[in-house]
């Protein structure tokens, strides 16, 4: 991991506060969704709790809406940081009409937001990585100056799909950043069973591109690493692997029960290093966040989340007819 000097100084207080706000918003939304699940009101949730700092730090290193993002399911905080709204998220969670990711066709947390250049992905892990390299190839072909950020879990880097995608980007020096959110687990399977290297970033050496590992619990640290990778990409320097070490503080998803494969002690130790608390404490130490401001942030988040839940609860389900299209591009309504 990179030496972590005091990086907070690089960023303006407003930026630090914005980061913190997004982390809080994501966390409250995420927790509320777990509650809905426990109440039997929704069928499924997959959580970004413990990954927020990395995701917000990364998203804020992009030109939002101009750069391209090819995310994976665990990226709720990243999506919010890019401009996706809690209401939109809740529509998806509840499978309601007009849910912008897929018109309620896909499971929740399968992102796709055209207006933000956030590309649709499937559940099949690692399939998104070649798309990211392809978008980057097109950007290079067209001479545009956009950059692509794609994210993935550490386990999924065992897929040949990821290898081939990174290989293309390295050969053609494409403007893409391969962000890895390493939480040491792929459902129940630990990193040692996924790879024989210490860090995912070590794979970079075998593919011919730079790779770094950074503390993913610290948003400004991630922000700096991604900013560097993005500016290398934008200036023709080619792709980078940026591995962020994060904590999966929940079971894999609402379908999982992690008691069979990790101890409660291990989990408690992770929770003791909650990125949200770390960030809050740092900002307070720096004098950037006051007690009042903190209270306000929390209240605002709570309010926005409740509004989203209400909004989505009242929203109608899709018409049944929507299920039948668009199979082909010519079936699109606005065609």
């Amino acid at each position: 991991m990179e030496a972590q000097e005091d990086l907070q100084v690089d960023l303006k207080p407003e930026t630090l506060l914005e980061m913190y706000w997004l982390m809080v918003l994501s966390r409250r939304l995420d927790e509320r969704t777990w509650v809905l699940h426990r109440q039997g009101k929704i069928a499924f949730h997959i959580s970004s709790i413990g990954h927020e700092a990395a995701q917000v730090g990364a998203a804020m290193a992009l030109r939002r809406g101009q750069d391209w993002v090819v995310p994976y399911y665990r990226d709720l905080a990243m999506m919010l940081a890019l401009g996706f709204t809690p209401k939109e998220f809740m529509l998806g969670v509840m499978g309601k009409k007009g849910e912008p990711n897929s018109g309620a066709r896909q499971m929740p947390s399968h992102w796709s937001i055209r207006r933000l250049n956030i590309v649709s992905h499937s559940s099949v892990v690692a399939t998104q990585a070649p798309h990211a390299s392809g978008i980057a190839l097109a950007i290079k072909m067209r001479g545009d100056d956009a950059v692509v950020l794609t994210s993935i879990g550490e386990g999924s880097t065992a897929q040949g799909e990821w290898y081939e995608a990174v290989n293309w980007a390295a050969i053609h020096r494409l403007p893409v950043v391969f962000m890895v959110e390493n939480n040491l687990y792929a459902i129940s399977v630990r990193q040692e069973r996924q790879m024989a290297v210490e860090q995912v970033a070590d794979k970079a050496a075998g593919l011919g591109l730079p790779g770094v590992t950074v503390d993913g619990l610290d948003a400004p640290v991630v922000h700096r690493a991604i900013t560097e990778a993005v500016s290398r990409a934008r200036s023709g320097g080619g792709p980078t692997i940026v591995e962020t070490m994060v904590h999966r503080m929940t079971p894999h998803s609402s379908d999982d029960d992690d008691r069979s494969y990790r101890t409660r002690e291990e989990l408690e130790a992770l929770k003791a290093q909650d990125p949200l608390h770390l960030q809050r404490d740092k900002l307070m130490d720096m004098g950037v966040l006051s007690q009042d401001a903190e209270r306000e942030v929390q209240e605002r988040a709570k309010r926005e989340v409740e509004e989203a839940v209400d909004f989505a609860t009242r929203a109608p389900y899709p018409e049944v007819s929507e299920a039948s299209y668009p199979v082909y591009a010519e079936d699109r309504i606005d065609d």
Partner: protein, 328 residues
Amino acid sequence: MTEMTLIEGLRQAMDEELERDERVFIVGQDVGPRGGVFRATQGLYEKYGEDRVVDSPLAELSIIGIGIGTALYGMRPICEIQFADFIYPAFNQIVSEAARMCYRSGGEWIAPMVIRVPYGGGIGGGLYHSQSIEAFFAHVPGLKVVVPSTPYDAKGLLKSAVRDPNPVIFLEPKKGYRLIRGEVPEDEEVLVPIGPGRISREGTDLTLFAYGMMHHYAMEAAERVAQEGIDVEVVDLRTLKPVDRETVLASVAKTGKALIVHEDNLTGGYGAEIAAILAEEAFADLDAPVRRLAGPDVPAMPFSHPLQDWFMLDADKIADAIRELAAY
């Protein structure tokens, strides 16, 4: 006899085969301490250890490719693909390699292995946790494709698959894992041969061909219309490749009408092959057009409940199709 669920039948089959033959082992994602995401392998890691119940990397083609390698050396791998929807990365290893190994080496090398695959929808899984994949594999010579619909068959067919000298795609109707219950003898070995279909309900008015979860609904629908005086013969195909042509043809020779039901998309689905067999060989027997009732031709099952219900077949939809065909 004990009553058990489908998944219990599967788990018992694996347990018994691991016990019986030390060449048998399990490999797949989360099959170890987690016991599988559906708990099919629960307790087996604890009982047989990490050399016999192996957590693979998150890389399907390697699960199959590694499995093939071990089979070439004489092992009997049971490879688990976590969801049918995730089998495509391994398509090359299955179709190019496992299926063609025996033929291409003139029988010198074989790849006996079971590829266990939870499949099918109706569980809120959306596009990528609901798919049916049988049509792809039932087209490939060299593969066997098996789908149980009862705990008895689940246990008996899985044990046969483990002992089969060929690669067997073993499709498990995951919606039925805990929903479908049935009697399984405890004191004798349960082995169901791969190949024969099963007439699960005798009838005279029309034949309903189904498998997996759809067989479960088909039986429900057949009972329902029986009260209306329609006497349906239900055939549980069980083995899709090689299919039991005799049972298929004999039943239609008796009833004169055929309804084929599957969840997978209609066009080019498995029902096409049954319809084609009938169009070729039951011409003189058919009193009505063959009817396929299948998933609609959209890319996959949508998530939102009303949309999923639109896609998914059930006893109601099947009963309607029966009534329509019976009235022809």
